[in-house]
């Protein structure tokens, strides 16, 4: 089994901070304030569009495709979120696109660090250095956004938000070294659990895919570890709260901060970080993990900020983004 580089795309002049892939379409964002859209299908790897770079005045930190649509959300250090879309019947892959700015969402006091859509595309979550997580309800066109909740229980910057793949469950990772799990209750959102154990900033988390009623989450931290957490049951003593337990720590490979982690649909986990490594882990028994693949300097000597599993042309690939401005596509059989 090998991890091999299929393509390295030099899309940006500065750090690539975020990538997202949906239906063969890659979106990337960077410190150069640009957002690029690339067709990954049929080994084409052609840049389809560069979005209007006057929309954000600072680093674009996070991009996220809305499920079942051609709408993209982008969060920036300029404290705003931009929403992008195009005519429904235009063909994204072959033709020239004319993606338009649909909305600019304001609300956060300072840097927006992550944006994420719920599985049904109904909610958009955002988080910021202002320590808060906001949940927005979106209309179908992606033009109207109503803030339905502002969650302020983290004591420090919130670095990352991610939704469960099929439930209305949100996880937020923070500089306060914890992950919080949030869920809807009576039209409001409540913190259901606090996952404490990391000994440093939690940069990213991701839910396990397709595990039926089981819910698990992996989290990546400045402390150099990836941890697995497991939902146990509803808390019998505290209404609305859940009991979660720490299940496992993945084999220690990284030597510096881990910036991103992704849980693939086949159950494998990938992580990247400051040490320039991409690592793939496989669960050999429930709760017992082995390193399946490890590639050093996967973006040369540069740090790697983001990793995501994606499906392209029916194959599973890994996509990574680094400080070298490159987005790399890897096959992992």
């Amino acid at each position: 089994m090998t991890l091999s580089l299929v393509k390295s795309l030099k899309l940006h002049d500065q750090k690539v901070w975020s990538i997202d892939v949906s239906r063969g379409l890659l979106a990337t964002s960077s410190s150069d304030r640009k957002i690029k859209l690339v067709n990954l299908k049929h080994q084409k790897f052609n840049v389809i569009e560069e979005l209007d770079d006057s929309a954000h005045k600072k680093t674009v930190r996070s991009v996220a495709w809305r499920p079942h649509s051609h709408i993209l959300a982008a969060g920036s250090f300029d404290s705003t979120i931009s929403i992008w879309g195009k005519e429904e019947n235009a063909d994204y892959i072959d033709g020239e696109l004319d993606t338009e700015l649909l909305a600019i969402i304001e609300g956060h006091d300072n840097e927006v660090k992550s944006v994420a859509w719920s599985h049904d595309g109904f909610f958009l979550a955002s988080c910021s250095r202002d320590k808060s997580v906001w949940i927005w309800e979106a209309d179908e066109a992606g033009e109207e956004f109503e803030c339905i909740s502002v969650l302020q229980e983290h004591s420090q910057d919130v670095k990352h938000v991610v939704w469960h793949p099929s439930q209305a469950l949100l996880a937020s990772s923070s500089y306060d070294d914890t992950v919080r799990i949030w869920r809807e209750h009576d039209d409001d959102w409540e913190c259901a659990a606090v996952l404490a154990g990391h000994e440093g900033t939690v940069w990213c988390s991701d839910f396990a895919k397709s595990e039926g009623p089981n819910v698990r989450l992996c989290s990546a931290s400045d402390d150099g570890t990836v941890r697995i957490w497991r939902y146990v049951e509803e808390d019998p003593d505290n209404e609305y709260e859940q009991i979660w337990e720490f299940e496992a720590v993945l084999p220690a490979v990284h030597t510096r901060s881990i910036y991103s982690v992704s849980w693939g649909s086949d159950g494998r986990i990938a992580s990247v970080g400051s040490d320039g490594k991409v690592v793939v882990y496989k669960e050999v028994r429930k709760g017992s993990w082995e390193v399946q693949e490890e590639v050093s300097e996967c973006h040369g000597v540069y740090e790697v900020n983001v990793v995501k599993w994606a499906e392209i042309d029916g194959r599973t690939v890994l996509v990574t983004g680094g400080d070298d401005g490159c987005t790399n596509i890897w096959t992992c059989n």
Binding site: K58, T59, T201, S257
Partner: protein, 162 residues
């Protein structure tokens, strides 16, 4: 006449290629030349203190003995520089700014293979862990560098560097 122009073009191109390969060679030389603490010291000692008319070297905020370089066995591999700073007073409110100035200076001057860890010297500050965490948070540093006001102060601190 056409021949002459072509020949001239070729000569210009040849020169360009030569210059390019010299550049590359120069870069390669830089890449494999290992760093020592003295070089790091020389890069940061002339940074000005934001409050005093003195440099960080003169104020002993940066000291040669508190700089470590850990070179990778592979000479072109990822390596680490650790700088421990000693603020002039243990409740120095500018400790974060001093660290940021040093980080920006090293980011601009060192090849990308060096990871920089900037720490307060043990026991030198009452909020040591808090400041250390902030100084080594890549995202916060990146955001700080997009803050015009902060960048203005840092640029002023760095203006005395050679």
């Amino acid at each position: 006449r056409l021949m002459t122009i072509e020949r001239q073009n070729k000569q210009v191109n040849d020169l360009k290629m030569k210059a390019l390969s010299l550049d590359q060679k120069h870069e390669e030389d830089e890449e494999i030349d290992p760093l020592d603490p003295q070089e790091i010291y020389d890069l940061i000692a002339h940074i000005s203190d934001p409050e005093h008319p003195l440099s960080l070297g003169q104020l002993a905020v940066v000291n040669l003995a508190d700089i470590e370089v850990h070179e990778n066995d592979n000479k072109t591999g990822i390596s680490e520089v650790i700088v421990k700073i000693t603020p002039t007073i243990t409740h120095c409110s500018l400790a974060t700014l001093l660290g940021l100035g040093i980080r920006v200076r090293l980011d601009r001057c060192l090849p990308p293979r060096y990871r920089k860890t900037i720490l307060l010297k043990e026991g030198s500050h009452q909020s040591e862990n808090q400041v250390n965490k902030q100084l080594n948070d890549k995202e916060r540093v990146a955001a700080a560098c997009e803050n015009d006001q902060l960048l203005g102060v840092v640029s002023k601190m760095l203006s005395t560097c050679k």
